[in-house]
Each structure stands twice: as C-alpha cells, then as structure tokens.
Subunit: 226 residues, 4 copies
DNA sequence: CATGAATGAGTTTTCATTCAT
DNA sequence: GATGAATGAAAACTCATTCAT
C-alpha cells in the first residue's frame, strides 16, 4: 500500500495544511469579520481540529496577521506583475497597474474584505500591516508620477509639482482606486477595465493639467495657468 | 445657586441622558470597533447603569444604528451648511463642501470611524445606513458636476459627459475625498484646507479637461481631444 | 364638569384599580407563565405605572398569590352555586357541580392556567394555595359520596367503603375531572355538558358497583361481589 | 488499582458526560421548574462547566426537550415492560400497566415533575412532546378497552360503546391515573399497588357497567340498563 | 502528528424593585 | 396619590485557549 492512500488522506505536509488553514481563515475573516469569525468555524472549514490551528498559527491574532500579510503580498505582487510585463510609458504603466489591481480585488473579494475592511477596523496592530502595503502602492504611484513629470517637456518649470503635492496626489489616486474597487465589487456589471478607464480618464487628464502648472485656487473660480 | 445644584444630581431628563449615552457609544464604537465595544464600557462612560441604556436604546444593534444615523445626518448637515452659506459658482460650492467635509471629519474622528470603518464592516444592515448617506453625497456632487458642465461654454458638444460617466466620476470624487479624509486624520499636520486644496487641484482641472472632451485611452498614451 | 370627566379618567377608587391589576395579572400569568410574565407587562396591560402595582400589591409573589386566591375562590363559588341551586339527590348534585366546574374553567381559561398549570409548577408556596382549594373540592365530593353510600340501601354492610377508599375515590374523581377539563379546554368541540356526561357515566356506574360491594382484585379477573 | 483510578479522573467519554448532564437537568428542572432552573446550577450539579453543557446539548430548550423525551420514553417503556411480561386478560394487563406506571413515577419524582408539571406549563413546543407520549398511553388503554368489550359476551348489543366514548373514557382513565400518581407522590404512605387498586376498583367495575349498557343520564338519578 | 475533552472569562440582555419628585 | 428615572443581580450563551491521550 502506498503511503498516499486513497482514503481520508490524513498526514499532509505542514506547508499544505497551513495553506488550507489560511485559506479558510481569509474566507471566514472576510465574510464574518475579525471578531465574529470563530476559531471553531475556521478549523472546521479547513477540515482540521482546532488544536492543530493553534499548533501551527499560535493565536487568533497571529493567524489574522498572517492572513493580512499573505494577501497584502499577493495584491502587491499582482500589481507589480501587471506592470512589469510591459515596462514603458508611465501612463501605460499606471493603466496596467490599475487594471491588475481591479482585477485582483475582484477575483479575491474575501482578501479585499480582510485588507480593506477588517484589518483597518480592528486595532492599529493590524491597520499598520496594511498601511505598510499601502505605502508601497503609494510610493509605486509616486514613482510613476515623477517619471511622468520628468518626461513631460511641456512644463517650462518642471519643479512645480512639490514633493508634498506628489505624495498627496498619489494618496488621493490610491484612495480613489480603493474606493472604486469597493464600488466595483459591490456593483455587478462593472469590470476591472471599466473601473480602470474611469479612473484614468479622471486622473490622468487632471494630472496633465497639474503638470502644466494649472492650479485651482479658492480665490478665483477659473483655473489659472501661471 | 438654584435648586438644580451642580452636585451629584443623578436624575436627568431622558433627552439629556440619551444624548450622553450616544456620545459615549460613538466614542466607544469608534475606538474599539463595533464588536469589541461592550455595553458595559459604554454605560460606564456615559455614567449610567447598563439597564438604562437598554431601557432607552433597546439593544446594541439599535444603539449602533442610532449612532450611525445621528452622525450621518450631522456630517451631511455640516457639508450642506458649508455650501448653502454662499451658493454661487459650482466649483466654489464644491470647494466649500469639501472644506466642510474635511473639517467635520477632522473634528469628529470617532464619528468618522463609526461611519467609515465600523458601519461598513459589520453587516449590510449597518452598511446600508451609510450607503444612504453616501448616495446623498454622491448626488450632491453629481448635481454640481452637471451644473458645471452646463456652465462651461467651451465644450462644443455639451452632452459629452454621459450619465454613467458623471456618476462614476462623482463616486471616485467622493471616494477620493473619503480616502483623503482618512489620510488627513491619520497624518498630524494636514489641515482641512490643505486636503481640500489637494483634491480640488487634482479633480477640478481633470474635470475641466474631461468636460472639454479630453479622454485617455489605453491605445495611445497621449491625451486626445476628440 | 363632573369629577368623572370624559377624558383620561385618572383617579379611580383603589378597589377598582386593584381589580384591573389583578385581571391583567391573571391574563399575563395564565398566558406567559409565572416566571415569564413581567411586572412591566402586567402594569402596562392594567394601564397603570409599575410603582402603583407595587404600592397596592407589594411584590410579584404576593400578586401571584392574590391571583390564585381570587380565582380559587371564584371556582369554588361557581361549583357551589351550581349545586346549591337545587339540593337534592347526590348524583344530581355531583352532576350539577361537574357541569359548573367544566363551564367555569371553559369560560376562564387564563384562570384555569393560573390554578392548574402555573401555581402547581412554581414552588410549594403557591401549590399549597391550590391544594387548599382542591381539598375543599375533594371534601365536597367526599361528602356526596358518603351521602350516596348512606342513601343506598342495597348494600347490606354499609361500612364497606372505608374512609381511605372514599378519599382515594374522591381524589381520583377530582383528578379525572381536572384532566377532562384540561382536555376539553384544548379540544374545540367538547362542551361542558359533554365532559360532565362522560365523567358521570364513567364514574357513577362504577361507584354504584363499588357501593354494592363489588371489588376488582389482582388475583382473579372477574369482578366479585363479596 | 487499575489505571482508571477512582480518583479525580475528569476526562470522560461523551456518552457518560451527557448522561450525567441530563440526570442533573432532570433533577433541577423537576425541582426548580423550567424557568427557575439555571444552566449554572445544572452544570454544577453535573460536575462540569457550563460551556460543556452547551457544547453537548446546545441550548436550554434543547436540553429540556431531550430530558422530556428521555423520561417519556422511559415511562412508556416501564409501562409496556410491566404489561408484556404477562399478556393475557385485558383487566390484568391494565392492572399491570397501572402498577408499573405508579411504581415508575414514584421512583422518579423529578421525571414526573418534568413530564407532568414543567413540560405542560412552558410552551406548546414542550407540551406537544408530552402529548405524544400521552397519546401512546391513551391508545394503549383504548386498545385494552376495545379488547375487553369484545371479550365481554354479557353485552347483547356489543357495539354500544361508541368510538368517541371509548376515547373519552380512556382520556379520563389516564387523567385519573395521572392525578392519582400526583396524589400518591405527595402522600407518604400510598404505595403503587394501593393506587393501582383504587383506580381499578373505581374504573373497572364502572367499565363493566358501561359495557353492559348502563348509562347515567341527567334526567333520572337511577342508572338505567337500556 | 493530531484530537476529543474541557473551561475561565466575558458578552448581551432581562427583571424585580426602589427612589425623588 | 402617582410616576419617570434608575439600578443590582443574575441568566443564557460564546469564545479563545489548553490539556491528556
């Protein structure tokens, strides 16, 4: 008889078991919420006994943290993979990244919920974990923005876009993307491409203006080019 | 000193007590999260016994719902108040609204957390409550966008901005505002005016372009004016 | 304007208020059960404030006791009234009493529930109260049985029916009546007369035999007349 | 001493623990009443922690239902066992059944209280459970009565006892038995045999008359043989 | 390696009862 | 006399976590 019997297939390598548990955990945390998810439910969904979950993952907190990390890494990897495939003009890169972002979040709604709903709502300990990933996204976008600014000869005074501005814009852009992703996930017909298009239309043209030195100021309604 | 001494004076009219309880509830829910907040803690913070909380507010769910509603109304009222004071050019209105939005959320971080973190993470029942408010914000912005589009003679073909586009843009704008508010609340030095400026700069110029018929398309990197 | 205004008619004599409260209490205790009935509900149903209930009836226990007593007295009175009207042959008296018993319990289901379900299930303190009434019923029946025995010349040795036997039979008779009343109350079509008939047929003929000296004994299946 | 010492030995197989819990529950429910019995008390009496009670029996309601079922089955089994041993003449069978009934209820007063006091007083959900058992008792008695009627050649017109009559008589008989059991349980010296004798004397002779066509009617005091 | 057995601590919720006015 | 305001105490139920095997 081979060791991999056709029966219940107990005894699996730790790695595999751990993945099953985390899959179950992400699904449960995503759907029920961190507090409402019970270790019982997670263990049952993973098809293992509760003590085994504790043996491998120590505590609910650590389990949740591990979920956040895994899913954050996966999302980042997806975005980067989407971009790296090509690798040319900044707007194309942004477009590719956004598309990947929207596609990934749409395909992994539980992970989305864990990262963007649960983690941020249950203590700084977890929120910081996501904040780290978010910063990487922002710095990724910031890089693209800078590259675009450099590549845009139109602007006579290229340093117009201050550092703080760039970060602010990147923050807003990422925030808008996250908000759009949430919206798209809850709205049946919206595809990743559509969402990405909407955002690009909205953002890139504005960015173009911004980089051309256009500013809106509270004093006068017109957009001035200084 | 009147007979209503400042001393121990337990015994207060229901209205007052109810407000105290809801203040305590918003603070606790906002900081601990819906599930982690205990009725015990809320009661203690309000300075009353738990049964009184139940007598007046029936259950944790109803209490939370009441908090959401109160804070949603307050936020909407703040935004509208900020705008109505003036009442002129659409961009000025948007600016006023955004400023009011950022100011209000900055001044009421617990309410912010309740509305944008907790309510959305603990069951549709609560999320719907916020979705209602959000829709009012979106429709408010949508109105401004339409008004602006009408008022912009530049665009030869005024119907360029389709209905779906307008709503999508408004969604993104509101989402960006919400994301910025979150960022501003967590970043010490950022003021409401600054946040509003960033967003206006980012959004309004882009909108201008959009209304002028500029579009970004995946096919070619340049922004085309069709 | 007379003091009995057409308005809310506050200020009613204590007696009246007390009756209202006890009516409400009997209804609530009967339907919800002693423990499940809340003073809140009783007060509301009676249309008074809770402190007033306490002022007049002191405590839940006392209130319940008062209810039991009132309804026990009412039931006894109904049975006696049914009998006294006539006053002749013992079997006719029993028939009248049973009919009155079944009619009263059918007309006052809440009182029935209080006496026969609730009171016996929530502590000796209350059970004793009902036991008192029950003893009066039993002794009433015992009296009839003795009277009947005396009036039956058939039995050569009239002392055949020992004291213990008589009480046992009376117990069984009352028990059967109570069980039948419960059954009749839960079975739509059964009338008080029908129930009484069934019991009389069952019981009286048997009693006749008993008084004639017939006995059933475990040793031989036949009924012997010794 | 074996490895299974009589010492502290917590850790027991589920089956055993479950029985212990239900024993404790029957005792507590029987003595305190359904509502007054607390899960804490039951757990303590069973020598386990509350969570274990919930783990095995889910809720107070389910626990109570399980108790009712177990005790109802036990009582039915006792009655049937008492009868089946013999299996001859109907009156002997009835006698055996009654004796077993009285003996069992006398030996298990808490179970008696659960079945005949508590279950009937706390919601149809539970009452129905007992009603089921009661129906089996009634149909058991009904069968005996029919058998007896068939076996009695005395009656010229054997169909005299209508179906409704038989059921009514069986109801009253069972009711009388239940009442007698209650009385016997509360009265020190009364033995099961005595109670059974009383009822047989009372009932069987009457049944004999009934089957002979004797009827009592409100119109005339005499028992007529029609 | 893997699990059935077990629990301490905490949650929401309810209720009988009493003041202060 | 009558009530709105208020609470101490307890009940049902849940959960993360740990042993003993």
């Amino acid at each position: 008889m081979g060791s991999a019997g056709a029966g219940k297939s107990r005894r699996m390598p730790r790695e595999v078991r751990e993945r099953q548990m985390m899959d179950a955990a992400v699904a449960t945390f995503g759907q029920r919420g961190y507090r409402a998810a019970s270790m019982d439910e997670i263990a049952e969904l993973a098809g293992v006994s509760k003590p085994l979950v504790y043996l491998y993952l120590n505590s609910k907190e650590e389990l949740f943290t591990a979920c956040i990390r895994r899913e954050a890494d996966a999302l980042l990897a997806a975005v980067r993979a989407g971009v790296v495939e090509r690798g040319i003009a900044p707007d194309q890169q942004l477009w590719a990244g956004l598309t990947a972002f929207f596609a990934h979040t749409a395909e992994h709604p539980d992970a989305w919920s864990v990262l963007y709903r649960q983690a941020r709502t249950h203590g700084e300990r977890f929120a910081d974990e996501v904040a780290g990933m978010r910063e990487e996204l922002v710095s990724f976008v910031t890089g693209l923005l800078r590259e675009a600014a450099r590549a845009t000869p139109t602007s006579a005074e290229p340093a117009d876009l201050g550092d703080r501005d760039v970060v602010g814009v990147a923050q807003a852009l990422v925030g808008a993307a996250e908000a759009l992703a949430g919206w798209a996930n809850e709205t049946p017909d919206v595809t990743a491409r559509e969402a990405a298009s909407t955002l690009m239309n909205f953002a890139w043209t504005g960015l173009g203006g911004l980089m051309d030195g256009e500013r809106w100021s509270a004093g006068n309604s017109a957009v001035v080019r200084r």
